[in-house]
């Protein structure tokens, strides 16, 4: 038996493939397998990671700094903010060989608006009244009313342009104008993208082949990056491993910003959280620096409201309701809870940071008399009990913690049916105003007001921005440092020569 084992091990050494990757191919780990590849049918960020900006692109792109840049449309024009004319780039071909024309843009946008197609983001396209093809390269979008987020919507993952004739294969074989094409999807294991040789941006992409490998377990990911099986770990390695990985000369660690706001939610429709004094007391009782150290080893950034530093309208309001346990106790007494109260934290351990953060927060709340117990529930239960969509009528929770990764999602607080159940007509008015204000300065002022109001009213506690932690082999260049949109753009990634 021993001989057999030794022989097997010797053979393993002899027949090992060379560990170095060819310099034009990249193996990248992602934790979650996408549920289909159709950006227009499912809002999953796992689909966006593979398809968005890699396989399919929109008229406008959000670049690595978070700026909106002309993309499939080389420019656009509006005189009244109610009608936008896009001038398409000429000679841009889909990966099936056909040139992209204005009719394709009309088809994609009409489909997003049409309730029959059940586009997951239909509400974002509600303002569109008509899409008019002027000629092959000019298309006008007429809006019912001014929509300040319209251009941003055109840059979202749901606004990608695809050929009409390939609409039925979006789920398994999406076709687009992007730098890569989908070559193979081995369910449960990997998706392979190949270079789009006719890509319209000259010199891109720099890689010939990208393999997305689905590895959900952080320990397995760590082993895979250390053994050289994967070249990049895109998500999933926890902050606890970062200091160790930084010491490894074969690897580089990229720490950046994201739009993922880790939020402590409170059920505003339920006593005692319906009382603003209690919510402020909870906010004053939490030392966010300690939470960041305890749960995230210091990686990430403290937040004061729903708007994170990647947003151009961000202002730091984290000091408005700062750490002050004495004041927290005073507020609790004023609200009629001099001895505190019992509370339950419902968190889903599927997202590691939720449990860790809840543990630190619970110990801090205990110091002001709030006796919070942590209840770990499975993600499916969390969605039913805490997130509570129809047929669920009333959310069943006191407090919870989860990261909200969508950019520009401040509107959730203007929606009284969202699981925070915060119903503030004043805030809703501010938000509605911001939606119809296109002047940048005025809109910014409204956003500043909204951030201040969120901090002062404390419908939730915004703990920290989850950091972007990407680990790559030395020599991998061109990865985005920050993640201003839910995208994993690999077009400029290359191996250093």
């Amino acid at each position: 038996m021993m001989r057999l084992l030794v022989a097997a091990l010797v053979a393993a050494v002899l027949f090992s493939p060379a560990s170095a990757q060819t310099p034009t191919s990249l193996v990248i780990q992602v934790p979650t397998e996408p549920p289909g590849l159709d950006l227009t049918s499912n809002p999953s960020s796992a689909i966006a990671a593979v398809v968005f900006d890699n396989v399919q692109e929109g008229l406008i792109k959000i670049d690595r700094t978070g700026k909106m840049v002309p993309w499939l449309a080389e420019r656009w024009y509006t005189s009244d903010n109610k009608s936008y004319t896009f001038f398409l780039r000429k000679g841009v071909r889909f990966s099936n060989g056909r040139e992209m024309k204005a009719a394709d843009v009309k088809f994609a946008l009409d489909r997003a608006v049409n309730p029959e197609t059940k586009h997951p983001y239909r509400v974002q396209y509600e303002a569109i009244q008509d899409v008019i093809v002027k000629d092959d390269y000019t298309v006008t979008v007429a809006l019912k009313k001014i929509d300040a987020t319209f251009l941003y919507t055109m840059a979202r993952q749901g606004s990608v342009i695809y050929p009409r004739e390939a609409v039925d294969t979006l789920k398994s074989q999406p076709i687009g104008t992007g730098p890569f094409t989908v070559s193979e999807w081995v369910r449960g294991d990997r998706i392979v993208l190949l270079k789009n040789k006719d890509y319209w941006v000259k010199g891109l992409p720099k890689l010939d082949r990208v393999v997305f490998r689905f590895i959900p377990d952080p320990n397995s990911t760590l082993a895979a990056i250390k053994s050289g099986d994967i070249d990049v770990s895109a998500f999933g390695i926890g902050p606890e491993s970062v200091d160790d990985l930084k010491k490894d000369a074969r690897l580089q660690v990229i720490v950046g910003d994201t739009t993922n706001d880790v939020t402590l939610s409170m059920n505003n429709s339920k006593k005692p959280y319906s009382d603003k004094r209690v919510r402020l007391a909870i906010t004053h009782a939490i030392n966010k620096d300690e939470v960041l150290k305890g749960a995230m080893f210091g990686y990430g950034k403290i937040l004061g409201s729903n708007v994170d530093p990647t947003n151009p309208f961000f202002v730091d309001v984290s000091k408005r309701v700062g750490y002050d346990p004495a004041l927290a106790k005073k507020l609790l007494a004023e609200a009629g809870y001099p001895n505190g109260f019992d509370a339950v934290f419902k968190v889903a351990p599927q997202y590691y940071y939720t449990v860790r953060s809840a543990e630190v927060v619970a110990s801090q709340l205990a110091k002001v008399g709030i006796r919070a117990t942590i209840q770990q529930i499975e993600w499916g239960q969390w969605l039913s009990q805490v997130f509570c969509l129809a047929p669920c009528q009333t959310p069943d929770y006191d407090m919870s913690i989860i990261g909200h990764a969508e950019a520009w999602d401040i509107g959730n607080f203007a929606n009284p049916k969202y699981y925070f159940r915060w119903d503030s007509p004043a805030f809703q008015k501010l938000y509605q105003d911001s939606q119809v204000t296109v002047d940048d300065k005025t809109r910014r002022a409204l956003y500043v007001k909204m951030q201040e109001m969120l901090a002062d009213e404390a419908p939730a506690v915004w703990l920290y921005m989850h950091p972007r932690l990407v680990i790559t082999k030395k020599g991998v260049t061109g990865m985005w440092k920050d993640q201003p949109a839910p995208v994993l753009d690999l077009s400029e990634v290359a191996w250093q020569k």
Partner: protein
């Protein structure tokens, strides 16, 4: 056959009801935080979840009898196809683990029994004690650390398919098979040792030795053959446990097998896949048990089934 059919019926009924009473709406899980009431209702209707459970079960059984296990919610491919494709990883993995388990456990068990209360026995028992005590996933991580991270001999995980040949496929399954088989190896080694010790004390063994037969003939032809019944019984049960163990180890080694499919399907509430896989695995285990029963008759002709 009747017993097999009844077992499968109860298993399918049980798993059908259990996955449906689990809290957590599949539609919500599919749509995530961006879901809205409209899209949830649409997905529920698409999945047939708006119908009563008995109706859903009757539909499923009728189709399953015709060989159609339904379509995966996650992948939108037939469950049968999915199971077959994943079986190309899990079956070789289980067989490799079983091979490792039997090839290591029986010789070691025999060695321990023939060296009863001597250093060889103690060493073997210490080894098997370790095997029982160390959880498979942890052993897996240690193996990865040594053979992949430190020595770089084999990959840390993943499976590139059989397309590149048999050896690359087997190589990527070696570490997981050892980790998977470790616990079962330890149990089987202990079973072999105690079964053989018992038989070695029998009068007919003494007689065989008294006849002057060579020790290896006494050991393998007279003693081991009679000790095989409990060993085969345990090994049969263990085959089923190896299949179950693959759920954890396929995640550690990120192998695209049945175990990982099951785990992902449970988290995603991919009900057709969960049902299909559980019924399929149950039928495999029932078949293995039936094979073990038949093997009894071969090993000991006194055992016959009417």
């Amino acid at each position: 056959m009747a017993a097999l059919a009844a077992t499968l019926f109860f298993v399918s009924l049980l798993v059908f009801v259990v996955v449906r009473v689990l809290p957590g709406d599949p539609a919500l899980i599919i749509l995530g935080l961006e879901a809205n009431p409209d899209s949830v209702a649409r997905v529920r209707q698409e999945l047939g979840l708006d119908r009563p459970i008995p109706v859903q079960y009757a539909r499923w059984v009728t189709r399953a009898l015709g060989g159609d296990l339904g379509r995966s919610i996650q992948y939108d491919v037939p469950v049968g196809t999915l199971i077959l494709s994943r079986l190309t990883v899990t079956l070789p993995l289980t067989l490799l683990a079983a091979g490792f388990m039997i090839a290591a456990a029986i010789p070691l068990g025999v060695f321990a029994a023939t060296h009863h209360r001597r250093w060889g026995d103690y060493l073997t028992m210490t080894l098997s004690q370790l095997g029982v005590a160390v959880p498979g996933f942890w052993a897996g991580l240690l193996l990865i650390l040594l053979f992949s991270v430190q020595l770089g001999w084999v990959q840390a995980g993943g499976f590139d398919g059989w397309g590149q040949g048999v050896w690359p496929g087997v190589r990527s399954l070696l570490l997981p098979a050892i980790a998977l088989g470790l616990f079962q190896f330890a149990v089987l080694a202990r079973t072999t040792r105690s079964a053989l010790l018992e038989v070695l004390r029998e009068e007919y063994v003494k007689t065989a030795r008294a006849k002057g037969l060579a020790e290896w003939i006494v050991l393998f032809r007279h003693a081991l053959q009679n000790a095989l019944i409990p060993i085969v019984t345990v090994a049969g049960v263990q085959l089923g446990q190896l299949l179950a163990g693959s759920i954890i180890l396929e995640s550690v080694f990120y192998l695209p097998g049945l175990g990982r499919l099951t785990l992902a399907a449970i988290s995603a509430r991919d009900l057709p896949v969960v049902q299909g896989v559980v019924v399929f695995v149950a039928s495999m285990i029932v078949t293995v048990n039936a094979a073990v029963d038949i093997l009894y008759g071969v090993l000991d002709p006194r055992i016959r089934y009417g």
